[in-house]
């Protein structure tokens, strides 16, 4: 399991390193993550990072319940292993659900989207500041001038696809978001499926008959690894 995790760690490392390299290549136009991931359920307003912070909490929490399951396995307490493994599966599903919500808002974007202006500049809009054009360097244009620029704009982009997004004038930001969080989310989903299989085996008493709970330890290693990768994605995609 360790060797597999090492190879998987290399895959994730290369993705994040490539993100870092291309982010430095396009340093002057790269979107600020704090201005992209600002949504939070039931809150009308900007709460940057709070939602990913919550997702991190959910995943760390499910990692703890997994260690507790492994710990209970050492002393052959089947009921406890079942309970903690069950909590881990619920935590994993909550995380995958949160990620779906995050993707939905990333793809949908804001109401008005962003504009490629005729003078070559790129301007975003904000649902909370209607009528204003916001530029990457922090400047803003309002009123009649903004209306004029919008009417002569070359293109209006709403939300995100693999080809363009309203967060910045490069598709790379969206591409890396979809690929890295998608690849990680797929790992979490696989982890939930594997945890569920082990949960069924534990419930049937298969590990008691074997007198060996090492299987729980193995899926535990995989689960912690998924948590570990998220710690890095959280830092390098959302924080910096």
């Amino acid at each position: 399991m360790w060797i597999f995790l090492l190879s998987d760690a290399f895959t994730f490392s290369s993705l994040l390193i490539m993100y870092g390299a291309l982010r430095h290549r396009w340093a002057d136009i790269w979107p600020f993550p704090g201005e992209v991931f600002t949504h939070f359920p039931f809150i009308h307003g900007h709460v940057p990072l709070a939602y990913v912070g919550l997702m991190t909490f959910i995943l760390i929490m499910s990692s703890v319940t997994m260690v507790l399951a492994v710990d209970a396995g050492h002393s052959f307490k089947r009921k406890k292993v079942q309970m903690w493994l069950g909590f881990t599966i619920i935590g994993g599903l909550m995380f995958v659900g949160s990620q779906a919500w995050e993707w939905y808002h990333f793809i949908k974007g804001s109401g008005e989207g962003a504009y490629y202006l005729s003078d070559g500049r790129f301007a975003r809009t904000d649902d909370l500041e209607p009528g204003a054009l916001l530029f990457h360097d922090g400047t803003r244009i309002e009123g009649a001038e903004a209306e004029h620029l919008k009417s002569t704009a070359l293109k209006n982009v709403k939300g995100a696809t693999l080809y363009e997004n309203e967060y910045g004038p490069t598709p790379l930001f969206g591409n890396f978001f979809f690929f890295i969080t998608g690849f990680h989310g797929f790992h979490v989903f696989s982890g939930v499926v594997i945890n569920f299989i082990v949960f069924v085996l534990v419930s049937k008493g298969a590990l008691d008959r074997k007198k060996d709970y090492e299987l729980v330890e193995k899926v535990g290693l995989y689960w912690h690894f998924v948590d570990l990768v998220w710690v890095f994605v959280f830092t390098f995609f959302y924080l910096v």
């Binding site: 360790w2 995790l5 090492l6 760690a9 290399f10 490392s13 290369s14 390193i17 490539m18 870092g20 390299a21 291309l22 982010r23 430095h24 290549r25 396009w26 340093a27 002057d28 704090g34 940057p48 990072l49 709070a50 912070g53 991190t56 909490f57 760390i60 929490m61 990692s63 703890v64 997994m66 260690v67 507790l68 492994v70 710990d71 050492h74 007198k211 060996d212 709970y213 090492e214 330890e217 535990g220 290693l221 912690h224 690894f225 948590d227 570990l228 710690v231 890095f232 959280f234 830092t235 924080l239 910096v240």
Partner: protein, 118 residues
Amino acid sequence: MSEDFVSPDIHHERISHKGQDKAHTGLNTKVIWKVFWILLAVTIFEVAISFTGLSKTLLLYTFITLTIVKAYYIVFYFMHMKFEETALKFSILLPFVLIIYLIFIAIYEGIALGLVNY
């Protein structure tokens, strides 16, 4: 000599008991919850300081350091690397030297490409 051929099952049991003893030396529920509180505190701290308006460079290095701290606790306690054999520790951890090397050459390459006019 004969002991080696008893049955695969007993052999297996011996290994798992060995693992059991080792795990009990360092990891109990108290330690697990302690590590959880450390990870939670570090994450909350990270989100909190991202709003303080400190210099970008200072924030960057703080985040990287804290991420490595979190990674240490997850790998060494949750994945019980701390209680593994030295040989396993080194064979898993040493290859990451290559990753550190790759980080430097790739970021350097990225910055250099940004400076090219075309």
